[in-house]
């Protein structure tokens, strides 16, 4: 039983090129290794307004993670205690431009995103990956080290941009680089189901 799941699991090493990104299909289970950068509401706005070069190297062909973690200080080091995904749709107005501006290959979050983002994923060869909401310790345990943090004083812990080195961070491909969205399919079906049940 477990072997079957294992066979379908794909390993993603970041940074990732466009060819490998386009090979990912809806429903693929992936384990991500490399650097990911947390970014939520304040950070998305800041990235668009400032077009900062500080984080550019981490994001090129890399991943952005919609997440506001719990972090604690241990001397000079930061320890990640909990780091599940936050709702992605709030970033819909920024996401397509950010994918283009920073050359992002993976957007990681929960709940899926809208049509503009789907279009950008297709145009610029990127994917949206769903992490499991609330599974915060599983994700925190995949963080090997905190490489850097930006905008901590201005935005506070949840909204800062944390640069995380992760190993085998589990996620599921739910929007691919060919314009397909599992979220769109499920929503349509749920509305149909509601009408049929009435």
């Amino acid at each position: 039983m477990n072997k079957k799941i294992e066979m379908k699991t794909k390993h993603i090493q970041l940074p990732m090129n466009k060819i490998n990104t386009r090979k990912l299909k809806l429903g693929d289970k992936v384990l991500i290794s490399g650097i990911i950068v947390t970014s939520r509401d304040m950070a998305h706005r800041w990235m668009m307004e400032e077009k900062s070069d500080i984080i550019r190297p981490y994001l090129k062909d890399g991943a952005i993670y919609h997440c506001g973690p719990i972090m604690v200080r241990d001397g000079e080091k930061w320890i990640c205690r909990a780091a599940g995904p936050t709702t992605s749709i709030r970033e819909e107005r920024y996401q397509s431009n950010i994918i283009q501006e920073y050359g992002i290959r993976c957007v990681i979050g929960k709940g899926g995103m809208g049509k503009r983002t789907a279009q950008a994923l297709r145009t610029f060869s990127a994917v949206y990956l769903s992490a499991v909401g609330g599974a915060a310790v599983i994700y925190a345990n995949s963080v090997q080290s905190v490489k850097a943090v930006y905008q901590l004083d201005a935005f506070g812990v949840p909204e800062a941009m944390w640069v995380l080195q992760v190993k085998d961070f589990p996620a599921i491909v739910t929007m691919d680089a060919n314009g397909n969205s599992l979220h769109e399919d499920i929503e349509k079906k749920s509305i149909q189901n509601a009408n049929q049940n009435q």
Partner: protein, 289 residues
């Protein structure tokens, strides 16, 4: 009666309560998640999502780490006897919140909407939030609820009649609202959710009633037979939507529906829906005086 509250001891017990609430999922919720996983074939996405959730619940409990990073806006429901100062209780619980935040059990979540500054210690205007009720017992009962923002954002209030939904002022109308709320939420509230519903009241007491339902155990029965029937039929209907865990499809969209009611005024008929994520963190402690 004259009571003496040992503030330091009480504060420490509340800090322990917060840690437990943040790190340990209530047993009834975990049982429901295990049952939901058993309904799915082991090679589909829903199974994989529920399996990840259950592994996380286990590891959070063992490592004593917050099972979800979003510890929400901490809410405390406090019962206290006559003669105890609610101002002192408030201060003790605030101190416990600051301690739990420093210890990494709560995420600093209090943000000033004018400056966007995070206070860093979870104290702010109306944060944490308190509900006080006086009772006869010689003890203080503190119930803590941690509800993430993703699910709170999916909570919604309807005013009936609603022409768009064809929802009238009866239990059928209530059912239409609840189904609409769950469809609107899709996976964004961290499905499978628990749906608290408040019928009646004003816009504040209606939602309060809805949220209070979330303290009920999943297996309990509603004290009103007509609401109990509605809870069970809605649970079945909502799970036919196939929104599934995290909105990625599957047989379980909600773990429970809990409906309460408060009196309304003739002009208003509110249906308040409090969407709770699967990470339904609620815990109660008693402090003997």
């Amino acid at each position: 009666m004259n009571y003496t509250l040992h503030e330091q001891e009480f504060t420490q017990q509340v800090a322990d309560l917060i840690q437990q609430t943040a790190c340990i999922l209530p047993e009834d919720i975990e049982r429901a998640l295990v049952s939901a996983r058993a309904l799915e074939a082991s090679d589909n996405v829903a199974y994989s999502v529920l399996d990840t959730i259950l592994k996380n619940v286990d590891v959070a409990r063992k490592q004593q780490q917050p099972l979800c990073q979003d510890t929400g806006l901490p809410v405390f429901y406090v019962h206290y006897p006559c003669g105890i100062s609610t101002r002192i209780i408030t201060r003790c619980i605030q101190d416990a919140v600051v301690q739990a935040t420093a210890d990494g059990f709560l995420r600093p979540n209090a943000v000033n909407p004018l400056t966007n500054k995070n206070s860093g210690n979870n104290l702010g205007i109306m944060i944490p939030c308190f509900h006080f009720m006086e009772w006869d017992k010689p003890e203080i009962q503190v119930a803590c609820m941690l509800k993430g923002g993703g699910s709170e954002n999916m909570s919604i209030q309807y005013s009936l009649p609603d022409a768009k939904l064809s929802a009238g002022r009866d239990l059928n109308g209530v059912a239409v609202c609840v189904i609409d709320a769950v469809i609107k939420a899709q996976g964004n509230g961290c499905a499978p959710g628990i749906i608290g519903v408040g019928i009646g009241g004003d816009r504040v007491t209606g939602m309060q009633s809805a949220k209070k339902q979330l303290f009920r155990l999943l297996e309990d029965e509603n004290e009103y037979p007509e609401l109990d029937k509605l809870e069970k039929s809605l649970l079945a209907q909502l799970n036919k939507l196939e929104i599934g865990p995290m909105g990625l499809g599957g047989k379980t969209t909600v773990l429970g529906v809990k409906i309460g009611m408060v009196h309304r005024i003739p002009a208003s008929y509110f249906v308040s829906v409090a969407y709770m994520c699967w990470a339904c963190r609620r815990e109660v402690m008693s402090y003997k005086l």
